[in-house]
C-alpha cells in the first residue's frame, strides 16, 4: 500500500528512517517496525512480521487432531491454556463429545487464570516500556503464583498442553483449591499496588491518555476484538455474546472504556483481572464432583464438515476454523489470531505521535509475536 508522506519537512531536511526491531527491547519479540520520522514525530510506520513463522497451520494438516494440540500451546505462548481450550471446544463440538461438568468448570477456571497471567505480563511489559520498572517485577511476582498452579495441575508452566479431548488429563491435585483461594484472596491487594503506582500517577496519565485513540466504530471496521475493542466502548465479549463451555452459568461484568485511548485499555484490562477473579471464585464455590474426562475415542475422527470455534482469549476473539475430511488429520485448521488483526491497526494509531508513543501503543495492543507469525 502506497501512502502519501511528505518526503521533505522543515528546512528541506530528509525523513529519518528508523528500524525498530526485530531486535529491540520493546517490540515484544521479533516485530520489526520501519518508522519514518520527522525529528521524533512519526510520519509513517510499517510492520514487518514473519520472523517467528513456523507454519503451525500447515503442520496441523499433517498431524492427528490430538497431536496438533501442543503446537497451539506455542502460538500464543503467554496464554497457552486458552489456545488449547479454543481448539478443543471446536473438536469436541464436531465429535459431539460430552464434557463432564467438573472438567468444564476446571477448564473455565484455568482459562481465567491464564487470562490473569497474560494480563499481568502485559501490564508488566507495558509499564516497563513507559519506564515504570517496579510494576514489572510486582506483576511477575503474582504471575509466578499462577504458573505454580499451572505446574501443579498440568506439569508445565508455559507450554502447558492444558486439556485433552473430552476433558482433562487428570483431576486437581491435593492442595490446589487452597492454593488457588489463597492467591485469589491476596490478588486484589496486589492489583491495588499496581494502581497506586500507575492509575493516578500524573506521568502515567500524561503518557497514556489521548495516545492511540481509536473510536468504537473504527475499531470494529478494523476487526479488533478483546480489550482493545472494549477500551473503545464496545461491549463485545464472546463469553457473553456466544457463551461456550459453560460460561453462561457464571456472573461477571464486561468492563468497557470511554475514550478508546491507551489509558482506557489499561483500565479495562485491570478490571478484567478482577472479573476473572470473580469467575474463578464462583467456580471454586460450585465445583461439582465427578469424573474429569468424558467418553472420547482414542482416535479422533470428526465427521466431514467444517466448524468455527471462537473463544474470548486474553487478547481478543481467538478462533479456530477446522475443516474435516473425515480422516484422522484435519484437512485445514485456520487460526484467527487476535493480535495479528490488532497489529494491523498499529500504523493507523502511531501516525502523528512521537517515537516514545510507538512503544506505548505496541504495548497497549498487547501483541504476542508467536501468535502473529504462527
Amino acid at each position: 500500500m502506497k501512502t502519501t508522506v511528505e518526503e521533505s519537512t522543515v528546512l528541506d531536511a530528509k525523513v529519518l528512517e528508523l528500524n525498530m526491531g526485530p531486535q529491540h527491547p520493546s517490540t515484544h519479540g521479533v516485530l520489526r517496525v520501519k518508522l519514518k520520522l520527522d525529528g521524533e514525530r512519526v510520519l509513517d510506520a510499517e510492520c514487518i512480521i514473519g520472523y517467528l513463522h513456523r507454519g503451525v497451520e500447515k503442520i496441523s494438516e499433517n498431524r492427528s487432531y490430538i497431536k496438533c494440540v501442543p503446537y497451539y500451546d506455542r502460538t500464543d505462548y503467554i496464554a497457552a491454556v486458552s489456545n488449547v481450550y479454543g481448539y478443543l471446544l471446536g473438536v469436541e463440538a464436531m465429535m459431539q463429545i460430552e464434557v463432564p461438568k467438573r472438567a468444564q468448570y476446571i477448564r473455565i477456571m484455568m482459562t481465567e487464570f491464564s487470562r490473569i497471567s497474560s494480563h499481568l505480563l502485559w501490564l508488566a511489559t507495558h509499564a516497563l516500556d513507559i519506564g515504570a520498572m517496579t510494576v514489572f517485577l510486582y506483576c511477575f511476582r503474582e504471575r509466578e503464583e499462577i504458573l505454580k498452579l499451572f505446574e501443579a495441575l498440568f506439569g508445565a508452566r508455559l507450554t502447558t498442553h492444558a486439556f485433552r479431548v473430552g476433558g482433562l488429563w487428570k483431576d486437581l491435585p491435593a492442595g490446589f483449591e487452597e492454593a488457588a483461594r489463597k492467591f485469589l484472596d491476596e490478588f486484589p491487594e496486589r492489583v491495588d499496588e499496581y494502581e497506586q503506582l500507575l492509575t493516578k500517577n500524573r506521568i502515567w496519565m500524561a503518557r497514556t491518555q489521548g495516545i492511540g485513540v481509536i473510536s468504537g466504530k473504527e475499531a470494529i471496521e478494523w476487526g479488533l476484538t478483546g480489550p482493545v475493542l472494549r477500551g473503545s466502548g464496545m461491549k463485545h465479549d464472546v463469553r457473553k455474546d456466544r457463551p461456550y463451555g459453560g460460561y453462561e452459568e457464571f456472573d461477571f461484568d464486561v468492563p468497557v472504556g470511554e475514550n478508546g485511548d491507551t489509558y482506557d485499555r489499561y483500565l479495562v484490562r485491570l478490571e478484567e483481572m478482577h472479573q476473572s477473579r470473580r469467575i474463578i471464585q464462583q467456580v471454586l464455590d460450585r465445583l461439582p464432583d465427578g469424573p474429569v474426562r468424558g467418553k472420547a475415542p482414542k482416535i479422533v475422527k470428526p465427521p466431514v464438515g467444517e466448524y468455527y470455534s471462537g473463544i474470548d482469549g486474553p487478547r481478543g476473539e481467538l478462533g479456530y476454523y477446522i475443516v474435516s475430511d473425515g480422516s484422522a488429520q484435519p484437512f485445514r485448521v485456520r487460526i484467527r489470531p487476535p493480535t495479528f488483526i490488532s497489529l494491523q491497526v498499529l500504523r493507523r494509531l502511531v501516525r502523528g505521535h512521537l517515537m516514545a508513543d510507538v512503544v506505548a501503543i505496541i504495548g497497549t495492543l498487547d501483541i504476542v509475536l508467536g501468535e502473529v507469525d504462527r
Binding site: P25, G131, M133
Partner: protein, 370 residues
C-alpha cells in the same frame, strides 16, 4: 620555602588524590547501592553472589568492563568516539574541586598533629601552627574560589558535550536521537536550574560555596527554608541534568535501545556510566551546599542541639548527600518516564517562569524589607 610548598602544592595535591580516590569508590558503591535499593523496592534481593550481600560486586563489574573487547564501530568517527566518554566523565570530577566537604578549619588539628611526624621537614611548632591555620591547607575543600557557583555551572555543561559527541560520532540512528534529546533537554533545564540558583545567591550574597554555607551558619537557617521553591526547582532540574528517571530520555532503553551509548561497550561504556553517577553525586553535593547547609548540623548555632556537635561536619555533609542520592534512586523505582514534548513543556512553560518569578519575588522582598 618548605612552608609555601606545603600550603600551596603538597597538601592540596594530597587532598585532590584523596577526593578522586574517594569519589571513585563512592561511585562504584553507589551503583551497588542503587541495585540493592531498587531490588528491595521491587521485592527481590539484588546482587548476592560476589562477596557478602554483593559487597564486591562493583569490583567484579569494573574488572569485567576492563576485560571486554574495545569496539569502535566501523563507520564511527573514531577519534571523537574515543574521547567522548572522557569528555563526559572529566567535568563530573572537576566539579568537586570547589565543593566544600567541611569547614575551612576542618583539617587544622589533623595537620598540626601529622606534620610533627615528619622529622626530615624540620618544621618548628610555629610554622606548623601557621600551616594549620591557613585555610588553603586546612580547609575541607581543594580550593575556595569566589565564583565557585559559576564554575560549577560552566564545567557541568561541558559534560553534556560528551553525550552529544558520543551520540553523533557513533554514526547510528538511535544514539543520534538520544544525543539530540539530551542536548535539547540539558539546554532547557540548565536555564531553569540557573535561575533557581540565583534565588539562593540573592539571599547569600556570594558566589563562593564556602561563604554560602557560612552565611547559612550566621543566619542560623538552611536556605531550603528560605527558598523552598528554588529548592524544588533545583532538585527537578538536577534530575533532568543527570538524566535520571523520570527524565532519562537520552538513554530511554525501551525507546532508544541505549540512547547515546547504544554503540558503546566495555570500558568506554563504563566511563559514561561512571559519569552519570559522578554527576548524581555532584548535583547532590551542590544541592546540599546551597540548600541544606553543607557541613552544618540542623539549626546551626542554636544551643539546644549542640550535643550533635561531636559529629564532624564532613559526616553531616556526606549524610545529607546520601539522602539526596537515596531520593534519586527511590524516584527511579517509582516513576514512569516523561515523553520528550512533555519534558520540554514542563521545562519552558512551568519551571522557567516559576524560577523567574522566584527570582523577582526574592529580589523584591530583599529590597523592600532588608
Amino acid at each position: 620555602m618548605i612552608e609555601i610548598l606545603l600550603i600551596y602544592a603538597i597538601i592540596p595535591l594530597i587532598k585532590i588524590a584523596v577526593i578522586v580516590l574517594f569519589l571513585s569508590g563512592a561511585i562504584a558503591y553507589l551503583t551497588l547501592l542503587e541495585r540493592k535499593l531498587i531490588a528491595h523496592i521491587q521485592v527481590r534481593l539484588g546482587p548476592m553472589r560476589v562477596g557478602w550481600h554483593g559487597l564486591l560486586q562493583p569490583i567484579a563489574d569494573g574488572l569485567k568492563f576492563l576485560l571486554k573487547e574495545d569496539i569502535v564501530p566501523a563507520k564511527a568517527d573514531a577519534f571523537i568516539f574515543t574521547i567522548a566518554p572522557a569528555i563526559s566523565l572529566l567535568p563530573a570530577f572537576l566539579v568537586f574541586a570547589v565543593v566544600p566537604f567541611g569547614p575551612p578549619d576542618m583539617l587544622k588539628d589533623f595537620l598540626s598533629w601529622i606534620l610533627g611526624w615528619f622529622p626530615f621537614l624540620n618544621l618548628d611548632p610555629e610554622t606548623i601552627a601557621r600551616i594549620a591555620e591557613n585555610p588553603i591547607a586546612s580547609g575541607g575543600y581543594v580550593t575556595d574560589i569566589n565564583i565557585a557557583v559559576l564554575f560549577v555551572l560552566s564545567v557541568s555543561s561541558v559534560g553534556i558535550l560528551g553525550i552529544i559527541l558520543g551520540g553523533w560520532a557513533s554514526n547510528s540512528k538511535f544514539p543520534l536521537l538520544g544525543a539530540l534529546r539530551s542536548s535539547a533537554q540539558m539546554v532547557s533545564y540548565e536555564v531553569a536550574l540557573g535561575f533557581a540558583i540565583i534565588g539562593v545567591l540573592l539571599v547569600a550574597g556570594s558566589l563562593s560555596l564556602v561563604e554560602i554555607v557560612q552565611n547559612q551558619q550566621q543566619e542560623q537557617i538552611w536556605y531550603v527554608f528560605v527558598q523552598p521553591v528554588a529548592f524544588v526547582l533545583f532538585f527537578i532540574c538536577g534530575l533532568a541534568e543527570t538524566n535520571r528517571l523520570p527524565f532519562d530520555l537520552p538513554e530511554a532503553e525501551t525507546e532508544l535501545v541505549g540512547g547515546f551509548h547504544t554503540e558503546y561497550s566495555g570500558f568506554r561504556f563504563s566511563l559514561f556510566f561512571l559519569a552519570e553517577y559522578a554527576n548524581m553525586i555532584a548535583v547532590s553535593a551542590i544541592g546540599v551546599i546551597l540548600f541544606w547547609g553543607g557541613w552544618l548540623r540542623p539549626f546551626p548555632n542554636s544551643d539546644w542541639l549542640s550535643f550533635l556537635d561531636f559529629i564532624p561536619g564532613v559526616l553531616w555533609f556526606l549524610g545529607k548527600v546520601f539522602m539526596f542520592l537515596y531520593v534519586f534512586i527511590w524516584l527511579r523505582g517509582t516513576l514512569p518516564r516523561f515523553r520528550f514534548d512533555q519534558l520540554m513543556q514542563y521545562g519552558w512553560k512551568i519551571f522557567l517562569p516559576v524560577a523567574l518569578g522566584n527570582v523577582v519575588v526574592t529580589a523584591g522582598v530583599l529590597l523592600a524589607f532588608l
